[in-house]
Every structure is written in structure tokens, then in C-alpha cells.
Symmetry: D2
Subunit: 373 residues, 4 copies
Amino acid sequence: MAGNTFGTLFRVTTFGESHGPALGAIVDGCPPGLKLSEADLQADLDRRRPGTSRHTTQRREPDQVRILSGVFEGETTGTPIGLLIENVDQRSKDYSKIAEQFRPGHADYSYRQKYGVRDYRGGGRSSARETAMRVAAGAIAKKWLSETHGVTVRGHLSQLGPIVLNDHCFDWAAVGENPFFWPCADQVAELETFMDDLRRSGDSVGAKVTVRAEGCPPGWGEPVFDRLDADIAHALMGINAVKGVEIGDGFDCVAARGTEFRDEITPEGFLSNHAGGVLGGISSGQDIVAHLALKPTSSIRLPGRSVDKQGEATEVVTTGRHDPCVGIRATPIAEAMLALTLMDHALRQRGQCGDLATDTPVIPAGDGSTPGR
Amino acid sequence: MAGNTFGTLFRVTTFGESHGPALGAIVDGCPPGLKLSEADLQADLDRRRPGTSRHTTQRREPDQVRILSGVFEGETTGTPIGLLIENVDQRSKDYSKIAEQFRPGHADYSYRQKYGVRDYRGGGRSSARETAMRVAAGAIAKKWLSETHGVTVRGHLSQLGPIVLNDHCFDWAAVGENPFFWPCADQVAELETFMDDLRRSGDSVGAKVTVRAEGCPPGWGEPVFDRLDADIAHALMGINAVKGVEIGDGFDCVAARGTEFRDEITPEGFLSNHAGGVLGGISSGQDIVAHLALKPTSSIRLPGRSVDKQGEATEVVTTGRHDPCVGIRATPIAEAMLALTLMDHALRQRGQCGDLATDTPVIPAGDGSTPGR
Amino acid sequence: MAGNTFGTLFRVTTFGESHGPALGAIVDGCPPGLKLSEADLQADLDRRRPGTSRHTTQRREPDQVRILSGVFEGETTGTPIGLLIENVDQRSKDYSKIAEQFRPGHADYSYRQKYGVRDYRGGGRSSARETAMRVAAGAIAKKWLSETHGVTVRGHLSQLGPIVLNDHCFDWAAVGENPFFWPCADQVAELETFMDDLRRSGDSVGAKVTVRAEGCPPGWGEPVFDRLDADIAHALMGINAVKGVEIGDGFDCVAARGTEFRDEITPEGFLSNHAGGVLGGISSGQDIVAHLALKPTSSIRLPGRSVDKQGEATEVVTTGRHDPCVGIRATPIAEAMLALTLMDHALRQRGQCGDLATDTPVIPAGDGSTPGR
Amino acid sequence: MAGNTFGTLFRVTTFGESHGPALGAIVDGCPPGLKLSEADLQADLDRRRPGTSRHTTQRREPDQVRILSGVFEGETTGTPIGLLIENVDQRSKDYSKIAEQFRPGHADYSYRQKYGVRDYRGGGRSSARETAMRVAAGAIAKKWLSETHGVTVRGHLSQLGPIVLNDHCFDWAAVGENPFFWPCADQVAELETFMDDLRRSGDSVGAKVTVRAEGCPPGWGEPVFDRLDADIAHALMGINAVKGVEIGDGFDCVAARGTEFRDEITPEGFLSNHAGGVLGGISSGQDIVAHLALKPTSSIRLPGRSVDKQGEATEVVTTGRHDPCVGIRATPIAEAMLALTLMDHALRQRGQCGDLATDTPVIPAGDGSTPGR
């Protein structure tokens, strides 16, 4: 497969560069009969949209999505859904320097060596702008998961640079009420001060995002290569700037003992959820929990050493409009990727096994599934 | 795609259960003209093989692989390579209890809910025994990568339960000389004591493995969903018991600043390798570095609470021959999965871009690529 | 895979309904460095365009294609190429009857049973309008094949209803000079009379199209399921209204003897080309020749018996603007599908085998490759 | 995808050369809970088996298949089914001449140019022996189609060289009672005489096979590239020696009129089946009918002109054990390929659309579906 398609049965293919005329996607394999309008996609697009607070890039893009096919009289028809977002604010500027240099931490050099040519305007295809189409497609998956299976996919920031989420004040309702997708209102002032200082310093910082799917039935996934957790890792590591992915307790499992880590079960439900909702590559019915680490933005105005296309030493200073922490706007993207993965596996499960009814009782998700790691 | 195939151009499909008659694989898409014999595969199979030290499972399997097709007069022909390993030591025992119970931390329950039926003998398809075929296939990829591109893929344990690798005594030569794939000879006595105590306690423990590919040219990978790092994450998270994957510095990037994390470049080479050899989803020519976290074995003889097929409370005690730390034998498996991913992307790159020659000088990997994180 | 993507390495995904706002495609996997402009695509689109003669549908669509991504400074960049054609002449009419009936010979009933819903306006997704995007994508493949390998892909009508091509007056130059893609100028008057009579009668007729690729190197294809001829058959049978596909002599092979059918070889070249340029699923270096049969248009104004959504008997009369012979405009579509197939296999061959240089001399295509069956 | 895998959700991957130690396959994606034993596969393997009459190759292969995984306690488990057939009668002979020559009509030259190397013993991978695994896998699909949907897949020879099936004496029961899979007992003597003469002459002849699926529900297939008929064409053209594929009336549609060809419908059912059971790429509920043309065997003992590896003129005489008409044994292979295609689309349909229940009545298949073209 070429690298711009995601999924097996529910398939999303995207195109578009940061400073080209438009971004687009084709969502193929969507079940028919799902009520769908542009407004359903716009809500999540607006959450990801640049320029909504002083803590993110000041590029102004309305990110207004159009549905060009696959929906008729308000319902999906089962044929491919064409999506389009026109780029509006591709501020024209002088790219001659960027064209010649390889910015450290960027895809400039690796694209050059892969393709020989590159669209250097605003990062071209490597720009995070590409993720808008993932969010639009993910909104379809979220809606289908919710309406057909009662699954909720949502996420939040769980670390911003050195500031770690205080689990004790965890509140999903807080996430939508601050520009950081932060689930603890008490920490927001601290985050704002931190980000204001950071912006003034010209530097950038990393972040950690947590995403969760609640209500997944057991049985989604595959046993070997395409394990549900492997496909989630593929989905999340495929987001720009991500350097690590954990399922459930993730790296904390290394120092753990089997007696504590295996999630014991009673007739009332699982007693813990260290596994993050996946056993043997297949959903267990507990909450699916994943964490991702996003590196600090490489585009900063503090000078850095690099080389140019001739291999000569040069100094790079990145001006322009950039997120000082790309992780902040990553929450809706991570939600979208998780939703796309789950919906694809839901269809795969239905394809291979049908609506299999076992006589084994479903084990309740149990108390182990409390948010906040 | 069904879940038992890995790769796009270089494709590995496996079959086999822990206690069935045999394990097998078909390796499709291998370039013709590679010299290949069963001995090439056996070396890595022997490294993964059970029963070689008191610290791993005592199941005795020779894991002797046969090549059934695709090789003629000592060379690959470009047609599919059929591989077969007969199971020898499927010790017969009473499975009636396992058939009825869902062992905590195991795939028993999730398989049951997915398929309705399951081969419960020794975990069936969910057994780590399945990974033998990955190692065999990975050995083909390793050989091709080495002979055609000079790429070396190798790995080591970097944490065993609470014991962290001491970077200062890092030595690749040590890895093959202890049963732990540990690259520091000075720590081996400590590991042995720890494992002896652990085994006596009946408990199990997690581990961290690090894998590295040295000598990769820049330009392998894809920009969006199938980024090289995303596919590596898919490959490594698809190994039994893995709960986390990091590329380069991984989760350490969260608290890092852009000024320190972006790997600066001079004409003499990169100055660091926080990114782990991948920029924008495409290899940069630096060492590709990944870490994986493996959970403690769930199969332990200390009793745990669970339910049976009727949903009634039961107590589970897992006897039999199990690795008290599944992470130990995971090193060759992780190497194999990394090699399969790289070879697939090497062929994909050649397919799309040919043997593209840019006039841009290759940046040396630089000092940043020192092993030991 | 979902059904709206074609190809493995060079991949085309399309969307769009006959009467929706637009048609679109994403062409993924295109090699970088190919000079490409909208004009390159427009030429073939204009050949397929409706409304250019009285013998085809009178729908007036400019079919103006826009390239939205993947091309920078006049060259492909290796990232996905987004294509868009706005629908202009979706004449509004009363669809209430079509919505309720299943037109015989149409996809109305099968779509209904597959999806439960359908976009009945102008046939929706089942309209041949969808093929415009194939032609646009095929033009990219044609250009690449020509520039990198000197391959020419072209086609012509070889039978129109009862009128069979006279091989003796075969002339490629004639094809572009009549509205029938007919390679014999002497027969054009006969075709015009036939079509005028047919149009007046209200009936429709089938056609046969022949496509050829000249200059293909030997070695493209796969030995088993994805044989080059199997993939060509998939490509051509996937065009609306096609009911049969032949490679080389096709069904004439049934009554042939091995002594005559096997294409003998001399150092000067092959002595015949009954096989149509494919041996064992792999190109032989001879011209690749395929024929396809297109059924008569089902949309005719002569009444036909059918049932409605309730299963009640009804009479169907299809008014509106339809091609009395859909086969006529199929030539550029068939060329496009052949080109897409060949380019995909060219990249697959390069991916697996690289630019393999055997020391075996290339056998000349020989005299056997004269057009006109 | 590499070329040795067939299918999207129900996937068959094969390996094996004519004179290697074994043939094998992995069947991935099979639904769990299907009762399956080796005997279920053996019946069709025995129909395809060489050496059962004087009219086919005298190679003696028991073709005894072993199931190595994926079946537990007599039922499929949903995990991959490993299949193996050992080669027994690879008569050792002197291959030095075949190694140097390119036999006309064979894959020798095209393999050489593709791979640089080839296993020349008995045709290696290009031997029709590879189709044994397709038949084994197809038997699984046939059984599932029959048990879950009441679909019957069967076929027969409909032309042998110049001898055309007499429709008037069509009888399915006859097919199994003669070595030609011929559905008219009255013509068998004529066939035997023809074949005896042919064998004595040293020449070979082509054949036409017809396959049919009865009982398919409407709604299987895809609208665009992966139309059901396109995938059937891919499946059948992917069989060795096939040069043409027709759906329903096939090439007869060229000279037909729309009024006669569109299959009219009444509440009692379709009035004809010119379309062969597929409308708009999706099954209509009528019998699915396909015809395939197989070329005469190229391996004949009458000398033919060719070149050797150095491009020098040579004369080729093929001795050994060959079918004088490869089409005869092709019937079970064609059935298998049709069954694999249908089962894959059945799972795809279930994956995307679930067990959709429309309120539209199912149109009966009607009288139009009489066998014998």
C-alpha cells in the first residue's frame, strides 16, 4: 500500500500540502445508513483549528469542510465520501532560504533524500496541517462507533513539558473549557503562565496526550501482526512529532510483577486495567487507554546549526507562525486516529465473525478503568 | 488484510498453534538472487529457542526450520519461500481446567468473545511460540539488509524488572555471552541472582528491550500514515506482551525543550540522535533506535482470581513451563520485526523512487548515535 | 481493501456521483520528478468527454480537471496527487419515478440490496461518469510509461454492433479523426449511418474495444494470482458495461492447436503473438494486446418490464441523455485502465527485483505484433 | 501486495514449485465455527489430481493434504489454516537442456527476464501444479458458501478444441462420470476419440470451461474497481493458460441490442440472464455464470523453434508427462477460484453493511438461469 491510506475496511486516503490550494480525503468503506452532515465533522475540526488561542499558531484557517459525495438525503450511501478543505491563509512569504536549508528536527533532509524534490512551502506534506483531514474522517468513525456500539472516544493532555496532570482533580468536563485540553481546571493558570514564558523565550516544549475509548465490546482486534494495540500504535505513532506510544500502563510494566500487573477478574468485573483494554491483541471490554509522547516543535526562532543543500554549514532561524507546543492541538488528532482504528477493527470483526453471539457472559469493565492513568 | 500477514512488498504470513503439529510461514516478495540456506535462519532461531538456560521456559524444542520453496541452487528465486517448523515437545497434559477458565492477563477471554471457540492448548495461536516464524523470516530480512545496504540490525535487553542497564559498561560483544542479551558483563551476576530469586518466588517481571539498525540510508519511510516509525511501532507492539514502544528518546521528549531536542547538524554529521533516526516518518541516515516494554508473564503459579466460562468466580494457578520474564527471549524477535519493517520500506522506496540519486551530500550519522539510549 | 482503490504501489482512489457536486481522485505512489500539468490530463479527458458528437450523450460537461496537490514547480513530488472535476451539467429533473423503480440491466436493484439506500440521480456512483477520474489518473500513468520506458498505450474500437473492423485498412492515424475511435477511415460512413439509424430506433448496441501497449519490457507481472493478464482482466472488467476480456487471441485459443498457438521464437524475434504479450503472467516484451466486450446501454427509451421497490410489476422508459453505444467512449477509459495496471506492475517489479540486469539478450517483439487482432 | 496472495478478507497465500519438496498454503480470515476436516478438501483435490485417466498427465501424485493449524476439535477457530501437500513423484531427469532453452509459449523467458534466475525443473512455480493449493483452499470456501448461504459452485467443460457442448443434452449428473467434466454423456465417445487422436499426433488443444454459482444472494460485490465480475475475471484469468474470461453472455453482447440484452424483470423473476448474475458490479441474485478460455498446452513433443539463453536459435522438443489439453483438469480449479472470490465478497459485504435487511422483496432468479450458456 502506498503510505497515504489508513485502514483495511474503513479506509481513509488523504492528500494536500500546507500551502497548496486544498486538503482532501476519501473515506471508503463507510457503512450505509449513517446520518451525516458537514456539521458532524466541523465540531472536531474546530477543536483542532489553528488560531483559536494565543498558545497555538496564529495561522487563521476556517477549516470549513465540504462533503462532495457518499452522502445522499442526509445519510451515507456506502460509496466513498469525498472531503475537501480549501486552504485560505497560506501567507505568502520568501521561501528562498527554507528551500536551500535543512532545518534541524524537520523532514527537510529526509524528504530531499527520499524524493529528490520537495514542496518546501510551510513544510509541504510534512506539515501538521495534513492532520485536519484525519480529524474530519475520525469524526465519521466517532459518530458510527457511538451510534452503533455506544463507544465514546475522547482524550486530554496529560503532561505539558514538566507539568504533570494531577489525577486527583480529573474532570472530563474541564477538557473543553481551556485551550490545553486539560482535565483539571485547577492547573490551568499554571499552564498559561508556563506557556506565556515559553513563548517569550522562543523555545518549545513536548507534551503527553492520553486517549480513551469507553464502551468497546470485547472481541475487536487480531491475534498476531494486526493486534488492536499494534494498530493503535501504528495510528498514533503516525501523527506528526510522536515519539512514543503506550497502551495501558505502558513502560511502567517493566518494573512490575506478574501478580500485580495481570488484571484479575471477579464476576463483578475486572479489578484493574493495567493492560489498557487489550488482551492478546483483542479488546477485553475494558476501557482502551493509550498515551502518546509528542516532541517539542522544531520550528523555533532561536538559531540552530545545520547544513544547506550543498552540505555547507549554515544557521537556521525559523520565523513564521508555529505552535510552541504541537502536543496541545494533538488531542483531537489522537482521538481521530483511535476512532479510525477501532471502527476499522469493528468492521473487520463483523466481516470475519459476523455478529457472533457466544454464550459466555460479558465481564463488566470494572473499577479498574478510572481515568487519569 | 487479515491479521496474519506483515508487510506490503516484503510480506510474511504465518500460521500455527503452540500445540498443533507445526508452525509455518510464507515469505513473499523476496528479491531474487539472495544466497540463502536453512543455516542462515537457524542461527537466530537458536537465539530465541526455549530451554537454553534455567532462566527461560524448559520446553525443549529444536525449532529446526525447513525451507520448502523459493530457493533454488542456494539462491532465492523471487517466488514465495515456504518455511516449516514441526512442533516436537507439546507435552500432553490435562487441559480441562484451562479450557473452562479465563486466565487473568491472558487472551483466553478476548479470544472466546471474538471467535466463540479457541484452541486452549498452551495458548494456541496466542502463544509466543508463534514468534519463531517471525524470527526465521526476520533472518532473511537481516541478511538482505546487510548484503545489499550494509545495514546491521541488533538488540539487547536494557532493563530487567528494576535493574537498569549501566550505559557506561555498554559492550555489544557481551550480548551474546549471557542468557539475558545484556550488553554489560558486569551486571550479569546481579541479573542471575535476581532471576533465581524471582523463579523461586513464583512471580514474574517485565523487561525493556532496545533494538537498533545501523547503516540505514536516508530516505526509507513514508510521510503520513505509514511513517517508518509508525510501522516500527506496529511491528514491535505486535509482539506478545509489549505494552509500549519508543523511537529514539521516546517519552523523554515530553519534558524536553526544542533547542535541546532538535538534532542539530554540522557538515561533520548530526550532533545528537534524540529523534532515533527518523525525521518526518523517513529515515535520516542516523541509527534507528527503538525501545519496547514487555509486561511480566501472566502465567505464574501464584493463584489469581478469575471467572470461568459461565462467569462464575474461580481461582487460577498456572503450572507448566513458562518464562518468568518473557522479555528476555524477546530480543531476537524485536530484531526480526525491525528488520522486516526496514526491508519492506527499502523495497517500497525502490518501487516508488527507484535508485534515486540526489546531488545532496549524505550527512554522516555523527556522534549522536552512541548505543545505550 | 475497499472497492474504490485500484493498484498496489501506484494507487488510484476515486469518489463522486453522477449528480453530486464533484468527482475526485487521489493518485498515491507516483514517482517524484515527473513533469506534470493539468493540460497533460485534459487531453485524454477531452477524448472521453460527453457531448462532442451526435453519437454520444448530449450532457455538456467541460470536465475541467484541477490538480490540488502533489505537483510543485511543474513536477510531481512523490506525495499524493489530488484531482477534482466539478460537475456542471447535472440537469435537474424529476427523479421520483427512478427512485421507485429498478431499471432492467441497471445497478438499481443490486445497489438497493447491497446498501439499503442509493443515490438514484443519474445512476449515482454506478454512472459511467465515474470513469472520468480513471482517465485523468491514467493520463499520468501513460506519461510516466512513455517517458521512462518508451511504452505507448493506445486503443480503438474494433467492433460496433454487427460492424467488424476491416483489418486491411488499419491505420492508427484514423482513430483520432472520427467520433468512433475507429482505425479504418473507409468504414466511418457505414458507422455513421448505423448509429443514426440506431438512435432513431431508440435501441442501443454493444461494442468491442481493443487496447495495446507497445514497448513494454519483459519482466513485468507476477507468476500466480496477480499475473499481469489477470490484473489487466480485473482492470478492464471493472469498467462499466464490460462483459468479457481477452488477452491476445482470447477465445480463439479454444479451437487452436499447440503447434500453431505457441509463439515460436527466432533470434530475429517472436514469429507470432497469439499470447498477447504475456507468458506465465509476465510480460514477454511483445505488444500487450487486450480486447473487451461492452454490452448495449440499458438506458433506452423503448419500454421494458420491471418491478418497483415493492416488487410490483412496472414499465420502465428511460428518457434523458444517454449514449446509444457506451462502448464508443470506452476507448480512452480502457487505455487508462491498461496504463494504470502496467505502471503499477512496473513499480512492483522495480520494488522486488530492482533494475535487474540479466545477461540474457532481449528477444525482439517481432512481426507477430501487427495491430488489427 | 505480493502476487501470491488472493483475496481481501478471506485470503489465500500459496507457495511451492513443481519439483520442490512440497506445496503449501495459508488460508487466513476464515470464519470460526466451520466444521472442517482433511476429507472436505480431498474430494476436490482428487478431481484435479493428475494421473487419473489416459487423457491427462501421467504424473502420479496422491495430493494428500494435511491441515496443520486453524482447526480444533473439528471446527475452524478463526486463526490461519496451514495446508501442506508433499510432492511425491518429481521424477528425476536431466534438466540441462531445459535450463538453457526458452520453450515457446512458456514462462521460461519471461521469468528469466523478471528474476534473473529460475527453478527450471518442471516449470518451477509456473507449473499448473501450484493450482492444487487453490483447489484445497477453494474447497473451504465452497463448504462455507454452501452451509451459510446455500450457494452451490460447480462447473463443466463447455468446449474441447473444436467440439462444442450440445446444450440440449445438458445434465449436471454427467459431469462427474467422465474424465472431461463434460455435462452431456452422449458426446463423451466423440471426446475420447478426439483426445486419443490428439495424443497420438503429439499436438495439444485448447478448451473452454464454464463455472456457475447458484443461490448467491443479491448484494455481493463492489461498485467500481473491485466489482464482483472484475474480481471474478482476475481470479479466472489468474489460472495458468487462461486467455479469456466472459461473464454471462460475454462477447455475444457486442452484436446484441439493448432491448434484448437488458434482462427484464417481472414479479415472478428475471426473464433472462444475459448479464450472468452481476449488475453494476454487484450480484443480482441470479446465477453467476462465467466462461474461460484455456490455450493449448505449449509442452508438446513436436519440435518448435526457439532461442537459448545466449539468444542463439535452437529447437525445442518437450518430452515428459504433460496434459495434451490443460483445460480438462481446469474445471475444479475454476470452481475453486470462483468460490474464493464469492466468499471474500460475502465477508466484505458483511463487514461493510452487516446483515442488512432491506424491505425490498428479493427478485427470484427466474427462468433465465438455465445452464448451458
